[in-house]
Every structure is written in structure tokens, then in C-alpha cells.
Amino acid sequence: MKANNFIERSIVGTLAFLREAIFSQEIALQNGFLQSLDPRVKITGFLLLLLKTLIACDLHTLFFLYGICLLLVLISKVGPGFFLLRTWVFIPLFSLCIGLPALFGPGDPLWSGYFLGIKLVISSQGLFGALIFVMRVLTCVSFVVLLNITTRHFELLKVLRIFKVPQIFVMTLGMSYRYIFLFIEIIQNTYLGIKSRVGSVICYRPGQRLVAWNIVSLWNYSLLLNQEVYKAMLSRGYRGEDLAWSDFRARGRDLGWLAAVILILWII
């Protein structure tokens, strides 16, 4: 019973988290600086910044770029604590996998010691390389996360369309988004459905069978849905052409943003 409750709680919790993480557009709806930019211009600026981050090979530049990122966080009404947490989660992972071995690369010894009887030497080149690596990852991740949370999902898709990414690709992205939503919805509803009929105690086996059955029916449903959606598209004149309704309008502020980005990248 207790274990059951634990599983139940964690399933419900995970679903709620997923929903929150993928579908909450709370930050994108605030009226901060980044949110007010034309998505096309914003994304162009971010691409430039990312490119610069990827090719930068000294620490100062990277620190500077990271500083810009944090500044953007502050003027876009993103909670700094939330943002740092979300981006720093990745860092230990990367540093452990790739950064750490780099520490012990060849070069002038900076520190040496014994670990489990093995002599380890940290070289200054190694330390420097590891730092640059971690900084670069951190900055890239931060820019990507920032762009992601300040832009609404559909705007990203729309910009992809406007940038002439083939529609089939964009549509698949959109559809997967929709299926994840549907899937979470169905699991939640099934769960509620079972609960309303058998109470809160769900044995493992039937539960498992129900989930499996639901995956089958989800598959069938999505097949049917696809056919019907296709009919609906036909009915409104779809002939397989790429047509996007762009109502984005670049204003002075957007040009200012792009100019600032280019200026900064040019100086450093």
C-alpha cells in the first residue's frame, strides 16, 4: 500500500512536472525585454551569439558572453535563481565526463597528488582547457535555455517555417508536441478512470495491462486522427504547399537588438 502510494505519487508528480516543463509558457508570456522582440530578429541574434560562443577560445570572451546572457535574464523577467538552477544542472554532468579528464592533460604541472596510489598531475594547460570547455558549454546551454523559455513554442515553429525549413520537418515537430500532450492527457485520464472505478489501490499487473492497452489504442487513435486531419486539411484547400502567415513586425527595438549584438560581437 505504501509502495503503491509512492509509485502513484511519483507518476502523478512526473506527469505534472512534464506538463509544467514542456507546456508552461509562463515566462514567454511575461512582458520582459526578450519577449517583446520580433521572434525572427531575436532568433537571428541568438544564433550569432551562439556562433561566437562556439568559436571563442579565450576565457575573457566567454565570461563576457555569459555576462551578456545573465544581463538578458535580468531584463527579461526571468527569475535568476530559476534560470541558474536550470542551466547549472547540466554543468556537473559535462564537466565530469569531459572536463575532468582534460584537467590531467600534458603540460606544466600545477598540482600533483596521489589518488588510490596513482600519481595525478594537474597541468595549467589542462586546467585552462577544462575551464574553457565548461564555460563554453555553460554559455551555450544558457543561451539556448533562455531563448527557449522566452519564446512561445509556436513562434519557434513559425520562425522555422519563415526561415524555409521544410514544412514536413516543422509539422513533425509540431505533431510530436501535440502527441506528447495527448499522451500525458491519456495517461492521466486513464489513471483517473481507474481510480474512479476501483478506488486508489491499483495492483501492478492490471495496471500494466491497462497502460499497454492504452498505448495500442493511442496508436490506433493517432492513425485515425492522421487520416481525419488530412481530410480536414484537404477540405480547406491544402495541396501540399508551404504557406506561412507571418504577422511578425520588426520595429526599432528589434533593429536596436540586432545592431547591439553585432556591435558586441565585432568588438570582442
Partner: protein, 281 residues
């Protein structure tokens, strides 16, 4: 001859079906010998039990599926797969015939409500200024301003329905086909939609509706067609005649069976929901 050269606009006949048969996957019969003639400017209703073939019939009219046997003609042209490979014909047909699905879920597939609404006119090559103008008009008529930037699949059923209706009305088609347009809607929205349809009909549009909701039939139909269990039209006639034919309606699951408690005795009787106001009073 008006419009493009494809269609015969001389006489009033829009749809003409002769002995139409259709089955899903060749196994599940859905229509078995349907004959019907629909003229321009008519408003008609299709009623019948669940599974009687109403949706199938409407999809056939919109050329989303094609008859196995028999013929479906639109303004003198037979509708078949071949004729729809002609891009110009297909565009002209889609401009003239609009379809509102029974399941709004499938009709909405764009990332936002707004994109969904403009999908039709964009694909049919309408001018941007015109699209914008009609969009604003529909937003006002259906009161969907707040929904525009939202994702369609996160809306309530009634909101989805309104958006689906907007996405078809924006094409401003001559023939409007609606599959249960008012199912699951609150009375006020139902009223709005019926008013929209009546207005469209007054402007000369042809309205073809399938519904279970007998309250609305009289307002949106001159002629009512009843689809029976045989999956074909078993009776047709003016709304007043059909709606008072209790036996016919009962045979086709179209009347409510009510349980009433009169004093201490419970009795059950079939019950027609037409004089709503009279009965409630």
C-alpha cells in the same frame, strides 16, 4: 456563365446523387443507395440515429471520400478522384464548399488558433487584406478574441467548435456543410451559430446540416431528410411534417424517452422536445 468555366451555374441544382453506395474498407457499409437533389440557396437537415451514415454522406458531398457505386455530381460535374487531380478544379470546388467536421479536434492542426483560422484562405490563395478583414469580422461574431494566440488542442470542446466554425466560415463558401455544429455547446453559443447560419442562408448560401438536435431543425431546414437503419434516406419532407411524425422519429431513435413522476406513479413515454417553452411553463 459566372465564375470559372468548370461549373454549370445556369440551373439551380448544386448536388445530385444517384444510387450512391459507400463502404469503409470495403467491409463496413455506410451508405446503401442514396438519392438526393440539393438546389442552390436551400437549407436542409439530415437527421438519423447514430451510425446511420450522416457523416459519411456529408464527407461524400465535400469530396473527401468518393462513392463506390453510383454518382455524385456538383453543378453538373461528377466528383471522382480523377477530377480532383486538376489543381484549378480542386481549388474552385474548395472555395465553394466548406465543411465543418463533427469532431473539431481533427479540424484544428496548426500551432495557434489564428493560424488555424487563416489556413484555408491562405491555401486557397486569398488576398491578405481580405483575410484580415474577414478574420476581424469572425472574431467579433464568435467572440474568440482571447483564443487567438492559444494552442487549439488546449481549448475546451465548445471553444474548439467555435474555432473550427470560424476556420470554415472565413472561406465564405457558397455551400456550407455542417456535421453536428451545435453538439456540446451552451445555449448562447448555439443561438449565435444558428443566427450565423440563418444569415448566411438569407445571403443565398446553401446550408446542409446533420444534427441530432431537433430543436434547431425547424430553424435551419426547409427540407428534412431522415437516414434510416438501412443507411439510406427513408423519408424526406418539410420540417413541420417530419417533426410531427412521431412514429418515424421513434423508429429512428430521435425522440427522448422520458420517465415522469406524476404524483406517485412513474410512467414512461416518448417525448418530443419541440415546444420547449410551452412544456416547461
Amino acid at each position: 456563365m459566372a465564375g470559372c468555366g468548370y461549373f454549370n451555374f445556369m440551373d439551380n441544382l448544386i448536388f445530385e446523387l444517384n444510387q450512391v453506395y459507400f463502404s469503409y474498407l470495403g467491409r463496413y457499409p455506410a451508405l446503401c443507395g442514396v438519392d438526393i437533389r440539393i438546389s442552390s440557396g436551400e437549407k436542409i437537415c439530415i437527421i438519423g440515429a447514430n451510425g446511420a451514415g450522416k457523416s459519411t454522406f456529408l464527407q461524400l458531398l465535400d469530396a473527401l471520400i468518393f462513392a463506390d457505386k453510383g454518382s455524385v455530381c456538383f453543378r453538373g460535374k461528377e466528383l471522382n478522384e480523377k477530377i480532383f487531380t486538376d489543381a484549378k478544379f480542386s481549388q474552385e470546388f474548395r472555395r465553394q464548399v466548406g465543411f465543418i467536421f463533427q469532431n473539431s479536434e481533427v479540424q484544428l492542426f496548426c500551432p495557434t488558433v489564428k493560424e488555424d483560422i487563416v489556413f484555408g484562405p491562405l491555401n486557397l490563395g486569398f488576398e491578405k487584406g481580405l483575410i484580415q478583414k474577414r478574420l476581424e469580422m469572425l472574431i467579433a461574431a464568435l467572440n474568440i478574441e482571447d483564443l487567438l494566440e492559444r494552442s487549439p488542442h488546449q481549448l475546451s470542446i465548445g471553444e474548439k467548435r467555435k474555432v473550427a466554425i470560424a476556420s470554415t466560415l472565413i472561406i465564405d463558401p457558397q455551400v456550407l456543410i455542417l456535421d453536428e455544429p451545435t453538439a456540446g455547446l451552451d445555449p448562447l453559443v448555439t443561438r449565435n451559430i444558428i443566427d450565423l447560419l440563418i444569415q448566411a442562408n438569407a445571403e443565398g448560401k446553401t446550408i446542409i446540416t446533420a444534427t441530432h438536435d431537433l430543436h434547431i431543425v425547424e430553424e435551419i431546414a426547409d427540407t428534412v431528410y431522415v437516414f434510416g437503419r438501412q443507411k439510406k434516406i427513408v423519408k424526406s419532407g418539410p420540417a413541420e411534417t417530419i417533426l410531427t411524425d412521431t412514429q418515424l422519429l421513434q423508429e429512428n431513435n430521435l425522440v427522448h424517452i422520458h420517465r415522469h413522476k406524476h404524483k406517485d406513479k412513474v410512467h414512461i413515454h416518448p417525448h418530443l422536445h419541440l415546444d420547449h417553452h410551452g412544456e416547461d411553463a
